[in-house]
């Protein structure tokens, strides 16, 4: 019974894929921060539809060197972007193909340090204009009863929504910048304290050694003489 309903829902999914994907049309925004262990490559896959625009932005937040390798591979296997050891990058793909895009982050050049990488994928869906029309067509029927044109309300709301989305995206990016700066600063604090202490100890040790060796020198001479 369970297997049948699962197969049925899967079949229904496949059939409805095209229609629903066209109807959804919201701008998708995915952002992740993850830890990339030393010497490993992690890949993420993002599904895209035809003729959408995709923007990928990544930034290394923590990890010595603050750099990572990045590749973007299209569904047909073409390597669209190949960055080698960069600390941040932004790439746009206009007119995407249908399928799964592969984003790979490469930390194989580093044997010891793990990197914390932040990345964001924004998909500008081409069908966002078309998808909204259906629900608003019904609203237009009741338009005669209100003074304000519903068309104006719709346009304003759409514009506000787009701008808020953009604000949110910019905020996310700024957050990533701040996190990176903060980690860097905390590292600097630790490093300053540690090396200063070490420097002090080395100085004291060197001065003690100098005195001791000089005294030994003279003691030995004394014994030789007599």
């Amino acid at each position: 019974m369970m297997i049948v309903s699962a197969e049925l829902s899967l079949l229904a999914c496949l059939i409805l894929t095209v229609s629903l994907t066209l109807g959804l049309g919201t701008n998708q925004n995915v952002e992740f921060t993850f830890l990339l262990p030393a010497g490993r490559t992690e890949c993420f896959f993002q599904t895209a539809a035809r003729n959408d625009s995709m923007e990928v932005e990544y930034q290394v937040i923590a990890g010595s060197g603050l750099d990572v390798g990045f590749t973007l591979i299209s569904p047909s296997g073409y390597r669209l972007v190949s960055d080698f050891r960069r600390s941040d990058g932004i790439h746009t793909v206009d007119a995407t193909e249908d399928g799964d895009y592969r984003l790979c982050f490469d930390n194989s050049f580093s044997k010891l340090s793990e990197k914390m990488v932040f990345f964001e994928v924004i998909i500008y869906s081409q069908s966002s204009a078309g998808g909204g029309q259906d629900e608003w067509a019904d609203l237009a029927l009741t338009e005669g009863m209100v003074d304000y044109k519903l068309e104006d309300i719709r346009a304003t709301m759409d514009s506000v929504y787009q701008r808020l989305e953009r604000t949110r995206q910019v905020q996310t990016v700024l957050r990533a910048f701040e996190a990176r700066d903060r980690y860097l600063l905390e590292d600097n604090l630790w490093r300053v304290s540690f090396w200063s202490c070490l420097n002090l100890l080395v100085m004291i040790a060197v001065s003690a050694t100098q005195i001791y060796s000089l005294r030994r020198l003279f003691d030995d001479t004394k014994t030789v003489r007599t």
Partner: protein, 214 residues
């Protein structure tokens, strides 16, 4: 379940299928880090599938264990779910939270070393446009839903800005502490260097005088 329930489930499934996915090996744990201010509701939708949908002849018993750690690395939530579910979580402290996913498919029901893919969509705030959005026939309700979503987006942005300001304050404090520490250590080092130098010279002079070499 009813037709409406099935329809809504299908929609969830589909929207999730267009979300980002990554590879998850058997018993492998992968973590996502999210910086969250306190009292924020986080909703996560995930879907676990075999890597090659065509090759999977029978659907094995797949499960996901979701572990959420708070900024102090303590486990705040750890639950087991089926292969397609959603989880919600409210952050009690501001900071970096770790969302870890681990498959716990039983060995004998999955082919040895089979790759799995995990679709993931993490959203913050209530009323996020998502997988719960019911397409109602009532137009006013749709309008209300959209406005509610806009309001929630604005609240989320404001909250994040406040959090950003708090973090910038901490950041500035650390900067000042570092700066004063650099200055203090430099002064101490110079003092030690000078005093040790003087002490060395004085000791040597006394030593040479005592040994009647000077």
């Amino acid at each position: 379940m009813g037709l409406r329930g099935v329809g809504f489930l299908l929609q969830c499934y589909l929207m999730l299928a267009a979300a980002m996915y990554f590879e998850l090996g058997e018993q492998e744990e992968k973590c996502i880090i999210e910086e969250i201010p306190e009292d924020t509701l986080v909703t996560g939708y995930f879907l676990l599938e075999p890597w090659d949908l065509k090759k999977a002849t029978r659907s094995p018993h797949l499960g996901v264990t979701v572990t959420v750690r708070d900024p102090n690395h303590e486990i705040q939530m750890s639950k087991r779910y089926g292969k397609f579910s959603k989880f919600t979580f409210t952050a009690h402290a501001s900071g970096q939270h770790y969302f870890c996913f681990q498959t716990n498919s039983t060995r004998f029901s999955v082919f040895a070393g089979e790759r799995l893919k995990l679709h993931l969509d993490i959203q913050m705030g209530e009323h996020a446009i998502g997988h719960d959005a019911e397409k109602t026939k009532d137009n006013m309700e749709t309008l209300e839903n959209n406005l509610g979503h806009l309001i929630d987006q604005m609240k989320y942005i404001t909250r994040q800005q406040e959090y950003q300001r708090e973090k910038e304050d901490t950041f500035r404090q650390i900067s000042e502490v570092t700066n004063s520490k650099v200055l203090w250590w430099a002064v101490v080092q110079t003092t030690v260097l000078l005093s040790v130098g003087f002490w060395q010279m004085k000791r040597l002079k006394d030593f040479f005088i005592a040994k009647k070499l000077v």
